[in-house]
Symmetry: C4
Subunit: 221 residues, 4 copies
């Protein structure tokens, strides 16, 4: 009880705001897929070719959506274990959402300038910051007597931290690589979210130490 | 307990994100209804005629809204029976939302080029993929020992699957038809959601085997 | 048990989607408040005058926001008494949300052409349809053996219906008036939501027959 | 029971609408970060310089996001103590959300004209009104026999009021200062939200008199 905490900002409120921000950031990505307009000397019959030329935009859309999905999963997995909130944690969450909200900008920048190292680096940098803020939250929440349960398995926190830091590490690499080869950098960016689709050590720990959250009773298994 | 599952991503979280994405995708459709601007040699008095000329846009808005409504109903009916979530199911849901989020793009493309077969086919293709991912989810969740209740009526799953596949089947037909007649293709697209307004075999099964979800107690009937 | 009902689409799901759609429709209104750009021969110092000239846009924003607020209140008051949902009611709700989602279009049209009768009539017409669909929902839900509690006070339903129909009646009047005087029409539109700010007969009935909704325990009074 | 209240508009509904509006207003801020396009005589290689020139836009984004975060925290802290809702309180909340929804306009105006006193004053004015409406809500809810618990500590209400009024006071000052020096005004605007990051007297009162809200059980401390 030594630390003051902002009452009234429960975990549920943070989750509701986060779900809203993620839903909107994901959906705003589509605003970057603009209906192609015929250029000078072109007619509507050029549409198939023009749609084909949009493939980097479509790919950017898919990759950014997946990356937001990975961040959403990471944010919720973390909130699942948080038992209470305090002011620093609340503001780390708002900072995280601010970085997530910037993704449609970074994505549009990348879509327009995918051969410019600085555009690729800004995109990667956005992802690095998002991952680091999320790691900062985890580190803060896991501190002694902080926001997690006292009897939480430290191995689970360590496995979660390692899994979480994989992203910023690879995106930092990609940011540097952008100044050598933007193509190589983008390949790293596109492959990284796929790594998170695979189950990892954290899943094994989760499934063994699992307590079902309220309102989500796994009747099987 | 043999399968690892991502704790912290309960069913409620997926539903909240889905409700957000659907609400935004539905509302973004309106951005395609642009205020008509007077062209060269036109005045504000030409507004009634110009609004009249927008009728294909209004129709596209209504049809796309209804189609998103059908998908939303289908997604929630499925989630209703899911008792727990795992990593593959979670990512199928994110893939589904990614396809749903693309609908404002497909709708705007169709609104701008409704006589171009490729635009109509992209629109229909978006709907085919949405339906197939939703079917993939259902098929995965219904697997033995997976995410549905063990005592769930297999006839209900079969009826739900058939109802769900009706959409991709008709939209595939419409996609092919687009290269013969875009008008015929659009008629199929516009009529398909109306089929889902009718009650079907799945309703009879639902109402007989119904267990009320928590917080939603049907005191009548 | 005679009526089939779509399981899995509980009241909570409809409310969540409605809250999302209303939040977005309200927030999209701001997109019509565009940053004024200096015209030919103007400089940044003309900003105060240009902001002043935007007053009809600001007024349209406020009125449309209030009107959406009235509709949101009406929708939720109705849902509060609904004990279960069925397929026709679900689709009436989606139709209602479709009409609500069109408000940013009608508002932008009105903002651009506030002296054109057809623009004013489209705006009023949008509100008439929204009110009538909401009334249709109420009428359907109140049918014998339908979605309301059997012991619900019929006087409350009658008072709610009258209050609800006040809107479409006045907006219909405003739509007709638009072809005589757009100013008079807009005055009616702007004053109508204010009527809903006042307590009415329905409030007295509500407060006397009130059962607290779950999770919302009025400990006082 | 003397006051009529709109049944069906529980606290939860207001919170859901508010979370949606805040999530969208926060995310719409990013629409003001436009991908820079090469001007006449510029090439894609000018991108780093053009991104650098966007720094005031980035700063405006961060400050506006933080300010919305402060308002969101303030709104929820207040709602936390509200035990029931009535019609005036409901409409004050809608007025508050209307002012919050206008923030993307004020932010875009400021981003485009940060050296014009009127643009800075509009931005500050928006924040003053938001704070005053929030204070009005608090004042109303705290009235004798109104919406707060009867046994609520008056010192907590006084501390909350003082903390809340700090914002409008400083933003009023900044609005006036804008006509002397826009830079000085913006410095005040940017520093004010930082004051809210610090714990205050209200936190000490909160943590001592705290009753855990439902569904948010602090198992520690």
């Amino acid at each position: 009880m030594s630390q003051p905490q902002p009452a009234g900002i429960g975990k549920g409120r943070i989750e509701a705001l986060a779900d809203g921000v993620f839903a909107i950031a994901m959906t705003l990505l589509v605003l970057d897929l603009k209906t192609p307009a015929p250029g000078p000397g072109e007619t509507a019959d050029d549409l198939p070719r023009k749609l084909g030329e949009m493939w980097p935009r479509f790919l950017t859309y898919v990759v950014s959506f997946l990356i937001l999905g990975v961040l959403w999963v990471g944010h919720h997995a973390q909130l699942h274990y948080v038992r209470r909130s305090d002011r620093p944690f609340l503001w780390m969450n708002l900072a995280f959402l601010m970085v997530v909200s910037a993704m449609p900008f970074s994505t549009a920048l990348l879509g327009a300038y995918r051969e410019q190292p600085v555009a690729v680096a800004v995109y990667c940098g956005n992802l690095v910051v998002a991952g680091l803020v999320l790691f900062g939250q985890l580190h803060y929440a896991a501190g002694p007597g902080r926001l997690f349960d006292a009897d939480m398995d430290p191995a689970l926190i360590r496995a979660g931290s390692r899994r979480l830091l994989m992203g910023p590490a690879l995106y930092s690499l990609a940011a540097g690589l952008a100044f050598v080869s933007t193509t190589a950098s983008l390949v790293v960016c596109a492959l990284t979210p796929l790594l998170y689709l695979l189950p990892g050590r954290v899943d094994r720990l989760w499934s063994s130490g699992e307590r079902p959250p309220e309102g989500d009773s796994p009747t099987k298994g």
